[in-house]
Symmetry: C2
Subunit: 367 residues, 2 copies
């Protein structure tokens, strides 16, 4: 194998493929990046079996070939090279030689045959969506996935396609995040994608107008970004029927400024850290929201102007769950819907349709 | 006690005084900030006994008084308040009340009498130096202090005043860093200041033209920045007679570009991480510096144009010590002086007088 390519292009490709390399795999070959040079193109693959990322860049191929090199060391070497043309070739003793200006590295490589094959997916695009839209939907839901593995299905995000809409849903038993976007497809699909896949995908998705094509198979999902393909297994099992959890009715509706509410809750939570309860109390009455909290060290009272439609209410929350939601919303004006002190709070924006967040209250002994 | 002051001024003062609070003290009172309100001024003090920082801000004092409050929690509360006027007053139950717009905190305070007194220092300025100059001198030496406590004196920096010069010297047995600056004083003083004191001081020193006045006592040093005073005990014992370590003669002199040399060494060190030796070899010959390193994973060869005066030489180093020096130097053209493969390398800038760095080589078995 022998090829020449631009240092910065190669560095970028490594950083993409590397996102699938965990570095903690029991199989040493999976700490490597698979590089194949063929017909004017370099293909880099990183994989941890569950997630594989393949990316292509143009290169001047003088001799075709395939190798696997240690992902971390190879990535560091290329990153530190001068911004110039890099020549890489296989030499004796299972090694490659990397030459860039006056730098010359010799690096052991592994046997490419040991690298697992990518799942064989017959690309059959179900729908296409703008990369920045999908990126936003992932960021707007991924914080609500379960952190523990007791119910593995909840460590992923549900991709639900129906009624020409794509819904992303995450929930962990204490809160739920739902983001929706219209798509040009009338299939019905339910698939749960591992959180790890989507957090890496979100880093790769661009902020501009390009699209990503998505293909589902019974066990896998394929995101095709053009030069880059991300293939992930799906999580097995049924996702929770989340629709039945979201209340359709409410007894009181609060309209509030997101930024102000976030600041009040963050301040109140400073006093709620004692014993790790994060417990804050809302007292909603007369276009006023009073937030209080206390601990052995002291107490706090915050007051916020709101618009209240409906009855007054006292309700308590784990402040962390509210802060997570309020930080992820872009809009400045939001709506909170409540039914009782033991029913979930639903958080929406004024225009309503793009997202729905739900946070369960903390039941107080004296409530 | 009762006073009103601007939130951002108070926040700034807390962040200064807080730098002396370690949070790990066995005395709970030392996790607090001492606040006294007197004659239109608020004085905040943080201390860990060895290091004390006192800072003053203007405030509207309605009732004089003194308290101690938990440094971390109080700092977080003030930081999160809206950028407005803050009113703080003592209330019942050993508490203070903090009011800012619609936020109201109640916070337990401690007994100010338990707070240790600052060392009683009769201010008697020995010399004055521009803050940004001292800041630079500290940054340029502190990386070379000893990290382990086997020789406590080496965990500090020597402040040496003589011949109308201030020298800062740090050394750890493997390398030495010396920065000098002329001052308007002909006393002779030797004092060793703890590294922790100087690293916090460097964060407080400003980047502009203001000066800092320095007073020495047999056991303490006082840095007076105007509104802020930093008082630190000195380290006890004799510092190493560093002058005898710095070679005055050399057999070969290399002139090199600092940035290029740093890049070459950083790349070479990628291959030197195996077994944590960081071992890289220099081969100096014919206006060329060849840097090599190897490990089980591969090897590297870097080549750099230099100007060589003197004989050729092969010498090996721990790359970390060279990288530390090359990163801290601003100048682009530097001089390296060598005597033999087992003698220290001296690194200077072209103009020479402001700094001297010294790095010991690694003795090779085949050298």
């Amino acid at each position: 194998m022998k090829f020449t390519c631009a240092k910065n292009k190669l560095q970028e490709a490594i950083s993409i493929a590397q996102k699938a390399v965990t570095g903690k795999s029991p199989m040493p070959i999976l700490q490597g990046i698979h590089i194949s040079a063929k017909s004017a193109q370099l293909t880099l693959i990183g994989s941890d079996i569950d997630l594989s990322i393949e990316t292509k860049i143009a290169a001047d191929i003088q001799e075709e070939g395939t190798i696997v090199v240690d992902s971390k060391l190879f990535g560091e070497i290329i990153r530190k090279l001068p911004n110039s043309s890099v020549q890489i070739s296989t030499i004796d003793n299972n090694s490659i030689e990397i030459i860039c200006e006056k730098s010359k590295f010799t690096l052991i490589h592994m046997d490419a045959d040991e690298f697992p094959n990518l799942p064989n997916i017959n690309e059959n695009m179900i729908f296409s969506i703008r990369q920045k839209v999908l990126k936003n939907m992932i960021k707007g839901t991924i914080f609500a996935i379960a952190q523990d593995e007791t119910r593995p299905i909840l460590t992923g995000i549900l991709f639900e396609v129906n009624d020409e809409k794509l819904n992303l849903v995450a929930l962990d038993g204490y809160r739920l995040a739902l983001r929706s976007n219209s798509i040009d497809n009338d299939n019905t699909i339910n698939a749960v994608i591992p959180g790890k896949t989507l957090s890496e995908l979100a880093k790769i998705l661009s902020e501009d107008e390009e699209s990503v094509n998505i293909t589902f198979t019974p066990n896998h999902i394929l995101f095709n970004l053009g030069q880059t393909k991300i293939i992930s297994r799906l999580l097995e099992g049924e996702f929770i029927r989340y629709n039945s959890i979201i209340p359709e009715e409410y007894n009181l509706k609060v309209t509030a400024k997101r930024g102000e509410l976030l600041n009040c809750i963050e301040r109140a939570s400073l006093m709620a850290k004692d014993g790790n309860t994060n417990l804050i109390k809302f007292d909603i009455k007369d276009d006023n929201l009073i937030i209080t909290s206390n601990s052995q060290l002291g107490k706090v009272r915050e007051e916020l102007n709101i618009i209240l439609q409906g009855d007054e209410l006292q309700i308590a929350f784990n402040s962390k769950y509210l802060i997570d939601v309020l930080k992820i919303i872009d809009e400045e004006e939001i709506i909170l819907e409540f039914s009782s002190s033991v029913s979930p709070c639903v958080i929406k924006n004024i225009d309503n349709t793009k997202y729905t967040y739900l946070v369960l209250p903390v039941r107080l002994l004296n409530a």
